[in-house]
Symmetry: C2
Subunit: 203 residues, 2 copies
């Protein structure tokens, strides 16, 4: 591994944000899941929770496997919503849904410097009523147009980049935040098989 | 037309932002173009410039025609880059590219309350060198992960929602901004065929 490569890996590792996660509840389109993974990597979100309790679990997320984002983030699969919520409750202080239902707060009014798991729902049905009932609040992306139909990967990116903006201003990217054991585990997964893989081409 | 429907149309019309435009230079994937159109509608961008000087012009933008976003935004097609830039120069004070090249300013440092046309490039090649040379500046979305590969529709949404956030704080959505003649033209295009179309279902 070149020093430049190691530096790049360490830099990304030191900017991972263990207090922010994305939850995808029955998101069906593999392209949306892949785009979400790339956006999460970009803002330093390491953990993505994938709930599939309606229909089969999508197996292929990457449309271009050589640029696969799942090398860089951890996908946590659940086929039981309550089991997933239990894990989320143990790791994050707050569970926020992004439902088009009423009683939601604009993302610009949300304090994203707090530990948060953000739930995005199915492309057509949105976040389930069951999940909304279990959550601590509901947030929305303001829209002033005629449609109310932002693409799910677009909606996710707008939300987590607003989180990025706030967290960056609050200094969350100024020092490493992962626990040492987690940092080691992520490092292992990132560097596994490095000798045989030509990452500098693949990434 | 019901009063509610008219109110919704007028509300969206009064929030359109004539001082902000999106330019897509040889973006190829129709799904990306459609997602960009939906995001533009959501933040009140009425004008999208589509430059196609490499390869055929994509004709079908809508994967679900009944939810077509091209009812609500104006697409301006050009097969000549310089002709498009000439029009952009006549309508916007500033032309900013989103190239991964060096010498770019983070979107959070950009003053989006200024009149701006924002250029997004091809999915693989990015914004052309020719366009970058003609532009007034280059901006970037900060990324702290291992990949540098945000989806184009995601990148566009993150940029224009940062513009939305700034413009909203500056009061740009508090009063109508379209010129009267333009407002009439947009109203005409939005309400054309209203009597025969079941918009309340389609939108």
């Amino acid at each position: 591994m070149t020093p430049e490569r190691r530096g790049k890996l360490l830099n990304a590792l030191n900017k991972r944000q263990p207090d922010l996660a994305v939850v995808l509840e029955n998101v069906e389109d593999p392209r949306n899941v892949t785009a979400v993974m790339r956006s999460c990597d970009a803002v330093g979100i390491q953990d993505i929770y994938i709930i599939t309790n309606q229909g089969p679990r999508p197996e292929k997320y990457s449309f271009v496997s050589a640029r696969s984002a799942d090398k860089w983030v951890n996908l946590h699969h659940f086929d039981n919503l309550e089991a997933c919520v239990k894990v989320l409750r143990s790791k994050y202080n707050r569970l926020l849904t992004t439902s088009l239902a009423d009683n939601s707060v604009e993302i610009y009014e949300v304090d994203f410097t707090q530990s948060t798991a953000l739930v995005f729902g199915n492309e057509r049905r949105g976040v389930s009523a069951e999940m909304c009932a279990l959550a601590d609040g509901n947030i929305n992306i303001p829209q002033v147009g005629m449609l109310q139909s932002l693409n799910i990967s677009v909606a996710c990116a707008v939300c987590i980049y607003e989180a990025f903006r706030q967290k960056k201003a609050a200094g969350h990217y100024d020092q490493a935040a992962l626990e040492p054991a987690r940092m080691n585990a992520v490092w292992e997964s990132w560097t596994e098989g490095y000798e045989t893989a030509n990452w500098d081409v693949e990434e």
